[in-house]
């Protein structure tokens, strides 16, 4: 039944100067699968996501998306990225553009839609995520939660087959976290394939099909949320989860 995995990472290595951030990552996501990456800051979660959409060139290994190796020579990176959405911790909305312009820019320029078509699609998405009344506002006028939802809509407007979420709630005030997590839950329920770096353990437990614990550039342990959170096999995982519990984040 299952076709080629949505994404396959094989032996990913990545260094910044002398610092080896990723030391051989192997990971495959099936279609519609939601995988959460957990681990301490600096464990390589963000770097891994940035390698998947080729924002960071990898030193060794392969990334295969829907059966096609995107890290091969001569691949059109722009075309690859159109199929992979990413949402950043700091939103990275375009401050000189309105919400609607933020969402329609890439569909118009990279998918070749007309202004009207792009706006129609954008309005459908903005409506779905309760943002349509903000379409003419500039990002600075929105709350952090609204900005992050716009950033998600902007990524979705490219109709990606895969969505990468890089600690999308870490920059938010606590009371604004829920509205963003709700959006992601809805996407998961809709079958979106997602690779999520997160510190929200409750959310990971709730939404993920599988959780991977990253430690010093390797996937030290992975499993179902229940297994990993309740009975971690590795001592490092246990220590990490204990620190999270002690910090009141779980």
């Amino acid at each position: 039944m299952s076709a080629a995995p949505a994404v396959e990472l094989e032996g990913i290595h990545k260094s910044f100067g002398d610092l080896e951030v990723l030391r051989g990552i192997d990971l495959a996501l099936a279609e519609h699968e939601v995988v959460c990456l957990i681990g301490a800051s600096g464990s390589g979660k963000s770097t891994l996501l940035r390698c998947v959409n080729l924002l960071e060139p990898i030193d060794a290994g392969r990334v295969v998306v829907a059966g096609r190796e995107i890290t091969a020579r001569g691949v059109d990176v722009n075309e690859v990225r159109r199929g992979i959405g990413i949402v950043f911790q700091a939103f990275n909305l375009f401050p000189h553009k309105t919400v609607l312009e933020n969402v329609t820019l890439a569909p118009r320029k990279a998918r070749g839609l007309s202004r009207a078509e792009a706006a129609r699609e954008a309005d459908t998405l903005l409506e779905r995520f309760g943002l349509v009344d903000k379409r003419a506002d500039y990002p600075d006028r929105l709350s952090g939660g609204q900005q992050q939802r716009v950033a998600i809509v902007r990524a979705l407007a490219m109709q990606p087959r895969l969505l990468l979420l890089d600690e999308v709630t870490s920059a938010l005030d606590p009371e604004l976290v829920a509205e963003v997590l709700d959006v992601i839950r809805e996407l998961a329920a809709g079958g979106m394939t997602m690779l999520i770096a997160t510190h929200e353990m409750g959310f990971a437990r709730d939404v993920a099909n599988r959780v991977c614990f990253l430690h010093e550039g390797r996937i030290l342990e992975q499993g179902s949320p229940d297994q990993l959170f309740s009975e971690p096999r590795e001592e490092r995982t246990r220590q990490f989860l204990q620190r999270i519990v002690a910090a009141g984040r779980m």
Partner: protein, 255 residues
């Protein structure tokens, strides 16, 4: 307010009580000469206006292109970046008046019939060369001030490098550098007086002609008036642009 009045009052008092005041007033502040020469000098000033409007329009584009060339990443573009650096170093380092003299006298001296010989043309080319160097540095500062995460966001949506520059990086960079850009343009407007060294009858040359005909210096005041008349509206326009942008993007900002 009071202190300003005191200072200005003191200066006026000292000047008007000075032993040479009457001669000074006769030489520089002669209302009759001012009124009679204004039309003629203003017509000569139109030459300056034509030069700076043309040069500004061209520099806005060429300086941006140069700045973009200089910010191209990677070893492939090293020769391009190096050339851009040499260009900027040279034309910022050489006094503008020398560039005007070299082009304005040098190129017609080549006697190449297919090249324009118009002095205003070559003076304008000299100003374009010099101000492209200055203004490209302003643009470059603006481009570098846009956080790399903006380009990362644009590129990860599938936009090409050129599209990211065009739609995301450059618009933000230009908004940030409008005040220093205007500063350079005011400098350019004043530097159009330098083209008089080629014998072009523009505002400065005209005042010199008038001055040597009557031995009166009031014409300089006429020329000064004309320059100030064009820079003040430009400065207010820039203030308005900056304020409008700030209003649009930040009004009602949530705490």
């Amino acid at each position: 307010m009071v202190s300003t009045l005191v200072v200005v009052g003191t200066i006026v008092l000292v000047a008007t009580q000075s032993p040479g005041w009457d001669a000074f007033e006769e030489y520089f502040l002669n209302w009759g000469y001012y009124r009679d020469s204004f039309g003629e000098i203003a017509r000569a000033f139109l030459v300056n206006v034509r030069i700076f409007v043309t040069v500004e329009a061209i520099v806005l584009v060429t300086a941006l292109l140069l700045a973009i060339l200089r910010s191209l990443p990677g070893p492939v573009f090293f020769p391009v970046r190096a050339l851009a650096v040499v260009y900027v170093d040279f034309f910022r380092g050489v006094p503008t008046i020398l560039v005007i003299l070299m082009l304005g006298q040098g190129i017609p001296a080549l006697q190449l019939s297919w090249l324009p010989t118009d002095q205003i043309f070559w003076a304008s080319v000299a100003l374009v060369l010099v101000y492209t160097a200055y203004v490209s540095e302003v643009y470059r500062a603006g481009i570098e001030s846009v956080h790399p995460s903006q380009e990362a966001a644009a590129r990860s949506l599938g936009l090409t490098r050129a599209q990211s520059l065009r739609h995301v990086v450059v618009p933000q960079a230009v908004r940030r550098v409008i005040p220093p850009l205007l500063n350079d343009f005011i400098g350019l407007q004043k530097d159009t007086a330098l083209v008089s060294v080629l014998g072009i009858v523009e505002v400065l040359r005209q005042t010199q002609i008038d001055q040597s005909a009557t031995f009166n210096g009031t014409y300089y005041l006429v020329a000064a008036t004309l320059f100030v008349l064009v820079t003040i509206p430009l400065a207010r326009f820039t203030d308005w642009l900056v304020a409008r942008d700030r209003r649009r993007q930040q009004a009602g900002r949530l705490a």
